[in-house]
């Protein structure tokens, strides 16, 4: 089949025809957008588990679904299902018969402490710690289905619910995962393997251990007293990111496929760009070359110059390192254009949704274009003089936005950028 809509490299143009989201601000695009443009924060004191004695006791947990999730896999699935249902519904596609594959970013899945404690208590024997746990696991039939602890489990359940085609890909590129899911969908459609793809990022993995792990890396804000003011991207007094939960889903189609079935085209997924870093497990190369490479690659892929981006939906985690590095890279690539561009961080309000972030923020990037309003970077009281950018401080701003670059950078040297344009 020859496509009538081709991009600057002769590849099928990719349309976004559905998008959905869940964050600590609520379920669905409308509630989220209202809160996001009102500068409202979803960060709060953690009530899911005891936090006494911990350095960080705040997060953007999603607590309004089914009470306390039994496992990270349960909450991750529940949020993904909501976000994907919104996206697939908007695209006007049947829920149980999605015409393409599933690419899904999922958080680490494993047997967790509630299970370990239960196995330990049920153990009849065993010399070693895990000997006891195994003995306990064998002692009876447990209420947790095996698929809760299988990495493929969340995506397999999602694939069944939405009737996606073929084997779903579960993936992790740390905090770039959501964007990687979109990349994989774009590539699959471009090479003609499919006409549509469902791309999801989800993360419901906040528990005692995950919080402590990120704490031990000194990555988290410890501003527990005013949770909603803890995430301060690009501020001089920023002191770390705030862990959060959420899910984002995009329906991608070749533009021809979308038009042929009369679907509304919400945005064009114009470019994907990536560059891996080989410097350090948690830090970027000091010269920013990997992040710079990812930004250059996404501009090349989209066939756009440095004067063509209206708005940057920043990674903007609020860690001292990330925000400095992101600014350095943007300044290096965009130079004189940067002062004319708006750069804001959704994470100032929703926190860092980790595995989901790239997908969640892609949804908000598209909303920014469609609603003509840029969500602010809140908590911007003390500008960092070394990060001179228009961060859309504290208040949303009306603007005609026709192109957005969304950045996602992760531990392990993962750097992915997406460019979306108005149809």
């Amino acid at each position: 089949m020859t496509s009538s809509h081709r991009d600057h490299l002769g590849r099928p143009v990719i349309a976004v025809t559905g998008h959905g989201v869940v964050t600590s601000l609520g379920i669905g695009k409308d509630d989220n957008w209202k809160a996001l443009t009102a500068g409202q924060s979803g960060i709060h004191a953690i009530t899911r588990f005891a936090t006494e004695g911990l350095g960080t006791r705040i997060a953007g947990t999603v607590d309004f679904l089914n009470g306390t999730p039994e496992t990270a896999a349960d909450l991750s699935y529940d949020m993904a299902e909501l976000a994907a249902a919104e996206a697939v519904g908007e695209a006007g596609l049947p829920r149980g018969r999605f015409p393409g594959p599933l690419f899904m970013a999922v958080p680490p899945v494993e047997i967790e402490w509630p299970q370990r404690l239960a196995f330990d208590a049920a153990a009849a024997e065993g010399q070693t710690c895990y000997g006891r746990l195994i003995s306990g696991a064998k002692a009876q039939n447990w209420p947790w289905p095996y698929d809760r602890f299988v990495f493929a489990g969340v995506a397999e359940r999602t694939a069944e619910t939405f009737g996606t085609q073929g084997v779903p890909i579960s993936l992790s590129t740390a905090c770039a995962s959501g964007a990687t899911a979109v990349q994989l969908g774009v590539e699959a459609i471009r090479r003609g393997d499919c006409e549509a793809a469902l791309c999801i990022g989800t993360d419901g993995s906040i528990n005692t251990e995950s919080l402590i792990r990120f704490s031990l890396l000194s990555a988290l804000s410890t501003k527990n007293d005013l949770p909603e003011e803890a995430a301060k991207p690009f501020s001089k007094n920023r002191d770390g990111f705030v862990m959060a939960e959420g899910a984002g889903a995009l329906v991608l189609e070749s533009l021809d496929h979308a038009l042929a079935r009369g679907a509304d085209v919400l945005a064009i997924l114009a470019g994907i760009g990536e560059r891996a870093d080989d410097f350090h497990r948690t830090r970027s190369k000091p010269d920013g070359s990997a992040v710079i490479g990812a930004i250059r690659n996404v501009l090349d892929d989209a066939g756009l110059g440095t004067d063509a981006i209206d708005y940057v939906n920043a990674h903007g985690t609020s860690t001292p390192e990330n925000d400095k590095m992101e600014h350095l890279a943007l300044d290096h690539v965009f130079g004189d254009e940067l002062p004319k561009m708006a750069v804001s961080s959704n994470k100032s309000m929703i926190g860092h949704t980790l595995t989901a972030a790239g997908a969640v923020e892609a949804v908000f990037s598209i909303q920014t274009m469609r609603r003509g309003r840029i969500p602010p970077t809140i908590n911007y009281a003390e500008p960092d003089p070394e990060i001179a950018m228009d961060v859309v401080p504290n208040k949303a701003r009306d603007a005609d936005v026709t192109s957005v670059m969304s950045n996602s950078f992760g531990f392990g040297g993962q750097n992915v950028c997406l460019i979306m344009t108005a149809p």
């Binding site: 588990f49 196995f119 895990y130 992790s172 402590i212 870093d277 531990f411 392990g412």
Partner: protein, 409 residues
């Protein structure tokens, strides 16, 4: 699509292999051991994890591929195995120090969860056990016993991250998860990207550490582990209720477009024609039957040539029974020569398919197939090397995959 007998510039050819297992390291050395009239067997550890036999990794001199001790300390055994195998593959492809080429090499890793530290978990459990509210008393012992570096050694994408850091592969970096099928999907995506011009050079693979109590616990929760005779092959185990014997292994493959390999004068082991995959529930016999029919059709179209078959069956009962049915199905059209490497090397989950493809590529490179590995192998056929070798990895829980490897010529 049917198999493409005609050679094309956009064929995906394998130009470098890093293989490690209980039999040692090196793809040619491993081929020699397994192609011997009496194929070699790795040592089995029967005591340490009793009642579960496991196959440990052969001794590796890690410093040859991970020279900095600081890098080694940042990883668990699983990540070290993977980074080591990836280094072997890059060496073998002759691109280890080619900075320009590594800068555009695309990495796809099939990964599981990172390894837990049993000592830390033990201390946490001890502390929580005595408490009136164990679940509410986790914070303090976790805070005391977790180490920051451990977190990184447990992140799934940090095998890829460490490969980038140690070997400077930086074109792109993707980590797929999802047990056996992640290994198949990693290969499938690489092949399709090469065939369609979305990249010229890929480094693809995975690793598995069988000496992991946390994974034994996981498998035991699904009642998937074998507890009997450690020499029993997968078919025998499946007949007796089924059971997995975990095997340490790792395989990374450098896969290039034929034109790219030719331009830099690289020798190809074999061509990776395609990877066919499917998935679905396993509680519906009719659906399973339809899937196996589709998989067979995707594999060979109308082709009736003899077929080598390197079987990566795990021994998990249902999956292994399904695979026997699949082999029966293929046997209708082909003279099959089934060699169940899962009965020799054990089960390596995400790494199983990459290891099988490495063994298939080696057979074409050495122009020598393998003698039967398992006395219960269905359809052992002859020892002649067929035109094509199918490599299977059926997920112990979900998913079915077959890769087709053929001569590079």
């Amino acid at each position: 699509m049917t198999s493409a007998p005609v050679s094309s510039d956009r064929d995906a050819v394998i130009t470098g292999i890093g293989l490690i297992s209980g039999l040692g390291e090196g793809v040619r050395a491993t081929h020699a051991l397994l192609a011997a009239p009496e194929p070699a067997r790795p040592a089995v550890e029967e005591e340490e994890f009793a009642p579960y036999p496991v196959i440990p990794m052969a001794e590796l001199d890690l410093s040859t591929q991970i020279p900095r001790r600081g890098d080694q300390r940042q990883m668990g055994p699983w990540q070290r195995f993977g980074v080591y195998a990836a280094g072997l593959a890059l060496d073998d492809a002759g691109i280890k120090d080619d900075e320009e080429l590594l800068g555009r090499t695309n990495l796809i890793v099939a990964a599981g969860g990172g390894e837990r530290d049993p000592e830390a978990d033990s201390l946490v459990l001890e502390a929580a056990r005595g408490s009136a509210d164990p679940a509410g008393s986790l914070a303090e012992p976790l805070l005391t016993n977790l180490r920051p570096t451990l977190f990184l050694s447990q992140l799934s994408n940090l095998l890829a991250g460490n490969i980038s850091i140690v070997h400077h592969v930086t074109g792109s970096s993707r980590t797929f998860m999802g047990e056996e099928l992640s290994g198949a999907m990693a290969l499938e995506v690489a092949v399709r990207r090469i065939q369609s011009g979305q990249g010229d050079v890929f480094l693809v693979g995975g690793a598995y550490n069988a000496e992991r109590e946390d994974m034994l616990l996981f498998y035991e929760l699904g009642r998937h582990l074998w507890q009997g005779d450690p020499t029993a092959g997968v078919w025998q185990r499946a007949e007796k209720g089924g059971g997995i014997i975990c095997g340490s292994m790792g395989a990374f493959l450098v896969i290039e477009s034929r034109a790219h390999a030719a331009a830099r004068g690289a020798k190809a082991y074999a061509r990776l024609d395609r990877v066919a995959t499917d998935t679905g529930r396993r509680d519906d016999e009719a659906a399973i039957g339809a899937r196996l029919e589709r998989l067979a059709a995707a594999l060979d179209g109308d082709d009736d040539r003899p077929l080598g078959y390197l079987c990566g069956a795990s021994g998990a009962r249902q999956a292994t029974d399904m695979e026997r049915d699949f082999i029966d199905l293929l046997s209708r059209n082909h003279d099959m020569a089934v060699r169940t490497f899962g009965s020799v090397l054990g089960h390596g989950l995400e790494a199983q398919m990459p290891v099988g493809v490495a063994l298939a590529a080696a057979a074409f490179d050495q122009k020598r197939y393998y003698p039967p590995f398992d006395p219960a192998d269905p359809a052992t056929g002859g020892d002649t090397l067929a035109d094509r070798i199918a490599v299977s990895s059926f997920g112990h829980w979900r998913g079915e995959a077959v890769a087709v490897v053929s001569s590079a010529d």
